[in-house]
Amino acid sequence: MNVPENLRYSSDHEWALADGGNVRVGITDYAQDALGDVVFVELPEVGAVVEANQSCSEVESTKSVSDIFAPVSGTIVAVNADLADEPERLNDDPYGEGWLFVIEPSDNDQLADLLDAASYRALTED
């Protein structure tokens, strides 16, 4: 499984990237592989206020539906609208074109509380 060193991770298999002062969020390679082919993504609205560890989005594959949890609290400032027509980007490029949304964090310390790559890798290898 691909676990890039420069990202932080939640135990729910989201990744988070410091992006200017904001946090870009997606699902991990492990998560997309476990889900199987993604066919539908429901994204939050831009402007929505999200809470860390609360569901704010849904990803559906041919197999199942999964909640996406906000890794940090804050306000949604951007969403990946291309996923509406091309949800397969989550499978093809989970750390790139398959990003989900960008949060403007309300608490700048939460990002550091997430797992680093080594810890996340250990979690997925259990």
Binding site: G36, D37, V39, F40, E42, E58, E60, T62, K63, V65, P87, E88, N91
Partner: protein, 359 residues
Amino acid sequence: MADPSGESPHRSPLHELHVDLGAKIVPFGGWDMPLSYDAGTLEEHRRCRTDAVVFDVSHLGTVRVSGPKAHAVLQETFTNDLERIEPGRAQYTHLLDPDDASVLDDIIVWWLDAETFDVMPNASNTDRVTDALAAADHVTEMTSTRAILAVQGPAARERLAAISPEAAEVGRFRVESFDWRGTACLVAGTGYTGEDGVELAVPLAVAEEVWSAVVRVGIMPAGLGARDTLRLEAGLPLHGHELGPGITPLQAGLGWVVRWDKPEFRGRAPLAAERDAGVSRRLAGLMVEGRRPPRGGQLVVRGDDVIGEVTSGNFSPTLERGIAMAFLPPDVEIGGIVDIDMRGTRTAAEIVAMPFVGR
């Protein structure tokens, strides 16, 4: 995942080959079977609609019923009529509950010769079917003696002809024996995808060899994920979803499987009562506006009234829309609009004729 019975799951004779091909293995009806391979469910599905795929369906049961009484026992047990076919043919039929005409199992019968039938129930219903046929002279469970490969798709026969012209030529709903390098095998022109194709029943000794040869001629392995989206697009019922306790063939839109001109079959009286009174609900096809897949258990709503529940739903790779089946009141008509409650979001769905895709 633990089997609720506490027994360890059955494994297909092809299990090791699936693992080597990178299959994701999931529990299904007491068996560990491939969900998908490296290509993924969507690609496997599309390949079946445009070319050819092979499914390992060894988890289906095979119960061999033979002897002078076999024909009569099948006739008085199942709903369809063997008088409509002859040896060398396959027939789809139902086993009903004698008390309420629920469909206990849906079955394919391969009529091999005058007094020999291979009855093929769903994985988890094999014992039930064996019990129902106990009055026959010989009832032998054959499941563990063979593998079954379903080769399906518009190019299935053409590709299969490269390794077995004999098997590739079997007609639709015909059953024949064929020779695989000295071993006698069976082939039937049947399937569960809405495409043309054949199903091969091969003894264990040659199972791996036949599978490998099929894959080598460019027939892509496909798993249960694609099998489910394909049968859903084709409007075919799955036992435990569109058939099962409390569901009769008439409700499921499968009245053609019931031959009323037969004097007797299990469940005839309660089913006749339902026929005369009219069904209270009927299986309908639903197509949603967008891509979001409906899921089993989601409620179907009309105005303020809950009128049914989704029995099967998913994304249709061919239509690129969410599709579903649900039992709805008989006054719901093709072209009508209802809502499906998808985890709190109401999504409009049109009632459409099935199959969703194809003939």
